[in-house]
């Protein structure tokens, strides 16, 4: 029995109309996409260290932190001789590597968004250049979301906000008329993304140079 909504003529007409007019795709740019996939995977391979290397890097990072904490506590006015400060380690040692990488990534993103906002304010924004940089950071953002660093709810929320901003900037082209960049900046201001980003970055210099690690 035919369903009351079934109408073969309508269905055929709908299919034909939708296929030809609704989001009709162009020929996919295979080579461009393949090049970017390869580049993103190359970066990812750098992150995905072999197991023994992960432990070595984690151990080195914990050692550096331990020494840093030890020196810092020794300089505190209340510190007494004979007090032993032990940098504790737990099962999340390998997460330290991701936290360091996250700090480095957040610093880069802060610099990028600050530059974008300033150039936009001066009507000086080079849309195509910013779009390229945003795409690069977007890939890293998604890798960060999938990494153990993304398990931290506060960091995850920030990364999701950053992803939205970067998606918008990555779609800017040479012909942007300022309206698009205005909207992005307004969105950034409304969501307080830059203040949140800055508060997530620990004070002082980036602890370990991890350029290219993510």
């Amino acid at each position: 029995m035919m369903d009351q909504h079934e109408d073969p003529k309508f269905e055929q007409w709908l299919k034909d109309a939708a296929r030809t007019t609704y989001h009709a795709p162009r020929t996919p740019p295979r080579e461009e996409m393949w090049t970017r996939i390869q580049a993103a995977r190359q970066r990812r391979h750098i992150i995905e260290l072999r197991p023994w290397m992960k432990w070595a890097v984690a151990a080195a990072a914990v050692l550096i932190l331990g020494i840093g904490i030890g020196r810092w506590t020794a300089l505190q006015p209340g510190a007494t001789n004979g007090t032993t400060t032990v940098a504790t380690t737990d099962s999340g040692q390998s997460d330290v590597v991701y936290q360091i990488a996250a700090t480095q990534y957040l610093s880069r993103t802060e610099a990028f968004l600050t530059a974008f906002r300033e150039d936009q304010g001066a009507n000086n924004a080079d849309g195509a250049r910013f779009a390229r940089q945003a795409r690069d950071l977007l890939t890293t953002t998604r890798l960060m979301l999938d990494s153990p660093a993304g398990n931290d709810q506060r960091l995850r929320s920030l990364l999701e906000d950053l992803e939205l901003v970067l998606v918008q900037i990555s779609q800017l082209g040479d012909a942007n008329n300022g309206h698009d960049t205005d909207l992005i900046t307004q969105g950034m201001n409304q969501s307080n993304v830059l203040p949140k980003l800055r508060s997530a970055i620990p004070a002082g210099p980036v602890p370990v140079r991890t350029q290219g690690a993510l």
Binding site: H5, F10, L14, T21, H23, E160, L164, V167
Partner: protein, 180 residues
């Protein structure tokens, strides 16, 4: 060489095999991403993300289903999650625009069929729209859609039926077009 041999070579680190696998599937992945996203940059972005995830997780592909089914599961996950995020962002922008346009009377010209069809499809609930585009526009079977979206085949059929019913109501003004 059949696809299972190709996948085994990709797992063994053969980059030429990776490219062959990519070439075999990229058009369909991109088409689906574009149909759902309606934007070339986003479609490229989603296609890239799909292949990056697929190559990274190929070890978890057990071969119970076809590789294309597994790949389209990743595609729909990447695209739908990505679109939800973009929608959230655009909603913020729309809120700003609305705030600026209080008191301004909008006058719209009568849209043509193409615009009305686009609006009607865009207005469908996400599940209906996805099933409609996959089945009626891109030609996926209900079995493929069910596997990709993690729903029963019957659910896919029901959603398609409801999507068509909604579209029929939304496009009732154009009834003369299909009863000819």
């Amino acid at each position: 060489m059949d696809e299972s041999q190709l996948i085994a070579r990709v797992r063994a680190g053969d980059s030429a095999a990776e490219r062959t696998l990519y070439d075999a599937h990229v058009d369909r992945v991109y088409r689906l991403a574009f149909r759902l996203a309606g934007d070339d940059a986003l479609a490229q972005d989603f296609t890239q993300e799909t292949f990056i995830r697929a190559f990274d997780r190929l070890g978890s592909f057990r071969g119970d289903a076809a590789f294309s089914t597994w790949l389209h599961t990743i595609t729909t996950t990447v695209v739908l999650n990505g679109l939800r995020k973009v929608k959230r962002f655009r909603q913020r922008e729309a809120d700003i625009d609305d705030a600026h346009e209080i008191g301004v009377v909008q006058r719209h010209a009568e849209p043509d069929l193409k615009a009305r069809l686009k609006q009607a499809i865009d207005d469908l609930p996400e599940g209906y729209r996805t099933v409609f585009l996959m089945h009626d526009v891109e030609g996926y079977t209900h079995e493929e859609i069910g596997a990709a979206l993690g729903v029963e085949t019957g659910t896919s059929k029901a959603q398609l039926s409801r999507a068509r019913a909604k579209l029929r109501v939304a496009l009732a003004d154009f009834a003369g077009e299909w009863v000819r």
